[in-house]
Symmetry: C2
Subunit: 238 residues, 2 copies
DNA sequence: CGCTCATTTGAGGAACTTCAAGGTCAGTGG
DNA sequence: CCACTGACCTTGAAGTTCCTCAAATGAGCG
């Protein structure tokens, strides 16, 4: 795991950053709940943002009051823990459409932009209150948490596998989450991935080289991969 | 990780097993929701059981339809994944008061008794429907999942630490979950713990010996430990 | 081009696993 | 009561995987 310095660059206002849209993002969130106008209005009432963040900007610190939850509009967000020794664990990556920041009182993880991102801020009290009034919101929140719980369980299991298998699984699942594009353009740094998988960046690199030699993936360019034989990846167990 | 055979012993009826109470268990669950009589009645209407299980009995198989959720009344339940190679991952332990089985369609993990247990079966449809009618139920479900999500995140982080640290943390947290008793009577087998921590049983054993030599814990008897210096455990990082 | 930062590669060492054997304890039957 | 058994835990020695440190290569940018 890498020794990292916190990047404490403050919140970047959306107006400053042309790359982040505003209109479509609200729609993006609301569309999860269908076409109900009242609900849409209630949701946009409690949102702030979207906030734009550059890669490695800190969105919320470990220990901060958990007043807000975060809805990813674009880019990739990571949640991570840096321990005294300086080693870092990336606990999860969040893609557009994901909602994060479930802790009650304080965030127990640092929430950071893994790429340039746009993030919607949702006041958690307001959201939870809304859930008590509208069961669609409540059931959305519940299914969001259970999905993330399932994902976390898979992550736990993954961490007991070999380095090569971890890497292969990571890229395959990322590819699926990104909608199975022709080429996998890996959005986050290899250091982030290594910290997610519990490997050093060197071991990750060697694993990728290894996968390439086995003909399972190929490197089109630095961060652009081609998954050659998705099923062979599955067979390569433990 | 151990090569394990599935124990497919079927459901044990409560009547057959004197060790599992019946009356107090319903109360145990209902008290989570306070004294509301209607709610209590609704909850007990959708429960089946409590079912008694002996150690290593399978409560639900990986792949089974997820019709029921499980509420632990007594004992310890584990959820785990056995992969083709025969290695096993224990993903979580559930203690009395915990609710598990959140997956939608199919369970993706095997749910088993880690000790003799009593488990309440709750029809998931009914429970989810109840949540749409009573926001207290909805918010209970949400807080249960977020707690487990937080626990899973800590588990993920733990799996990147040294063997000694993993063992120390495990025993400390178990001790806390069990209400900080004088002696820690470890309820599950060392094999279960090793599979939870992603270690072999040998490495776990060596780690415990190591912790004992460091004066951090001592073995009172085989499964009864005394946490000597809880704070030194925290300092012993990575 | 020359800078910086990210990634790759190599060699040696540490941590964990594997394999094999021994020890402990509770239950069982002589 | 004591030997026998089997399940579970502990210990030792050798092997493997991954990490650490160091250096080289490659990519992106002014």
């Amino acid at each position: 795991m890498a020794n990292v310095d916190f990047d404490t660059t403050p919140f970047v206002e959306p107006s400053e950053t042309k790359i982040f849209g505003t209109v479509e993002t609200s729609v993006d969130f609301a569309k999860t709940f269908g076409e109900d106008v009242t609900l849409k209005r209630a949701l946009s009432a409690l949102q702030r943002g979207p906030g734009g963040f550059y890669r490695d900007n800190v969105i919320a610190c470990d220990g901060d009051a958990a007043d807000y939850m975060f809805f990813v509009v674009s880019g990739v967000v990571r949640s991570c823990k840096v321990c005294e020794s300086g080693s870092r664990n990336v606990v999860a990556f969040y893609l557009p459409g994901d909602l994060l920041g479930w802790s009650d009182l304080k965030h127990s993880l640092s929430i950071e932009a893994a790429t340039d991102t746009a993030v919607l801020f949702l006041k958690r009290n307001a959201l939870l209150f809304l859930a008590t009034r509208d069961s669609r919101v409540a059931s959305y929140l519940l299914s969001a948490t259970t999905n993330q719980l399932e994902r976390a369980h898979e992550h736990i299991i993954l961490k007991s596998k070999s380095a090569k298998y971890r890497a292969a699984t990571f890229f395959t699942e990322l590819w699926v989450r990104l909608g199975q594009p022709k080429y996998l353009d890996v959005p986050m740094s290899y250091q982030d991935i290594a910290d997610y998988l519990g490997l050093t960046i060197e071991t990750l690199s060697r694993s990728i080289t290894d996968l390439e030699r086995s003909g399972l993936i190929s490197r089109v360019s630095s961060r652009r991969l081609l998954l050659q034989n998705r099923f062979a990846l599955g067979r390569m167990m433990n």
